[in-house]
């Protein structure tokens, strides 16, 4: 979608979100999705782009999704996804808590009880920042290890204000960082884990730099950051995958998956690629099951398609 249209929507959301928060939150959440569905119905080009992307993914995965309804719901959910956790800003813990359905929290608590901290392996599927919001509300000791997320709630921004050796600020990473900065950052993250805290990291970040690994996703090969594999191998911390679906009733369904451990030698062998692919397979299974929560995945440009020059040369 054109940047101008995105900015108009962002401005609109900024104006109406305070009013929406006064409504029952599941209804407000459905109304945010309604903005995306309205855009979909009004713009024929947008509709075609969604339908083409969904059809392509359906063919690749061999699924039986209905293209029209999946495309419509996906368009609605994309706006909920882009709204991040803003709908829950300034909302009491009690009201916010009722927006979440949480399955298998025991996987998280059992992992933490091991005393090595835990890596919460998230991604950009569904409401990708809402598990972190829930963890903060539930008072889990949490640090992000990723690029600083933008346009988050004031509530979440306040959680980022921690300082000191285990503070959040220095754990936000930059794609421009050099080797020494990257090493200092990994060392810092490992100390956070050693102190028994949670590290929230994304497993689906496409990455061109050091320590990326190829994996097949939606029929194409992409290079993904293997930082979570390296951190898990270095520290022995358990890894707990989490997914959060945006439900049709407006609420958020958080699912914790069983923990696993990455062996210490994974970083020195071809094992890192195996672990990255394993996680991407888990993500792809979620996409198969809940295509309307796939956000931008169906629109990712394929890395492995031949360039124009290669096509001509062939």
């Amino acid at each position: 979608m054109q940047r101008r249209a995105l900015n108009i929507r962002k401005g609109l959301l900024r104006i109406i979100l305070p009013a929406l928060r006064r409504l029952p939150l599941p209804l407000a959440s459905r109304m945010v999705a309604g903005i995306g569905r309205t855009e979909y119905n009004l713009h024929s080009e947008l509709r075609l782009a969604f339908q083409t992307a969904v059809e392509r993914a359906r063919t690749t995965l061999g699924c039986g999704w209905d293209i029209s309804s999946t495309s419509l719901e996906l368009a609605g959910n994309q706006v909920r996804w882009r709204t991040r956790d803003l709908l829950l800003d300034g909302v009491s813990d009690d009201r916010a808590g009722r927006m979440f359905l949480v399955d298998d929290r025991r996987h998280l608590d059992e992992a933490l009880a091991l005393g090595k901290g835990a890596i919460i392996l998230a991604c950009h599927f569904g409401a990708h920042l809402l598990p972190a919001h829930w963890l903060f509300r539930e008072k889990y000791p949490l640090r992000f290890y990723m690029e600083r997320p933008r346009h988050v709630s004031k509530y979440m921004a306040r959680q980022f204000e921690s300082e000191g050796p285990l503070g959040q600020d220095k754990l936000f990473i930059s794609r421009q960082g050099d080797t020494a900065a990257a090493a200092g950052s990994i060392l810092r993250a490992s100390r956070v884990l050693q102190s028994g805290m949670l590290i929230y990291i994304a497993g689906d970040v496409r990455w061109a730099g050091q320590h990326s690994q190829p994996a097949t996703f939606l029929g194409h090969t992409f290079h993904f950051s293997a930082t979570w594999v390296n951190l898990a191998a270095l520290t022995g911390a358990p890894v707990v995958p989490v997914f959060c679906q945006m439900q049709n009733d407006g609420r958020f369904h958080i699912e914790y998956h069983p923990r696993f451990h990455v062996p210490g030698d994974a970083v020195k062998t071809a094992q890192a690629a195996h672990w990255v692919q394993s996680y991407i397979n888990l993500l792809e299974a979620q996409v198969r099951q809940h295509p309307t929560n796939s956000n931008e995945y169906f629109f990712w440009p394929a890395e492995d398609l031949p360039t124009e020059g290669e096509t001509k040369a062939a």
Partner: protein
């Protein structure tokens, strides 16, 4: 200044942690990243090894200043001195 024996001990730790082949010379002026081709993960391994071996804690913020073997040795000497004081 750090003693030649400390520099040699640090160099051994670097070689062992980063698996630097024995035919590659490590001197006090060897740059960890540019000369020894140590990447970020190996550098973390080196730092952890140095911490364990010398029983010190390396401050995360100091990592970008530890460019050479002699930088590392100097840092180890400072930390040991601080601990002894």
């Amino acid at each position: 200044m750090s003693s030649p024996s400390l520099v040699a001990e640090v160099a051994d730790a670097v070689r062992s942690a980063a698996k630097i082949p024995s035919n590659v010379a490590i001197t006090d002026n060897s740059r960890l990243i540019d000369d020894l081709n140590i990447d970020s993960l190996d550098l973390v391994g080196v730092l952890l090894q140095i911490q364990d071996h010398f029983d010190i804690v390396i401050d995360d913020d100091a990592v970008p200043t530890l460019s050479t073997v002699s930088d590392l040795a100097r840092y180890v000497a400072q930390q040991r001195g601080a601990a002894a004081a």
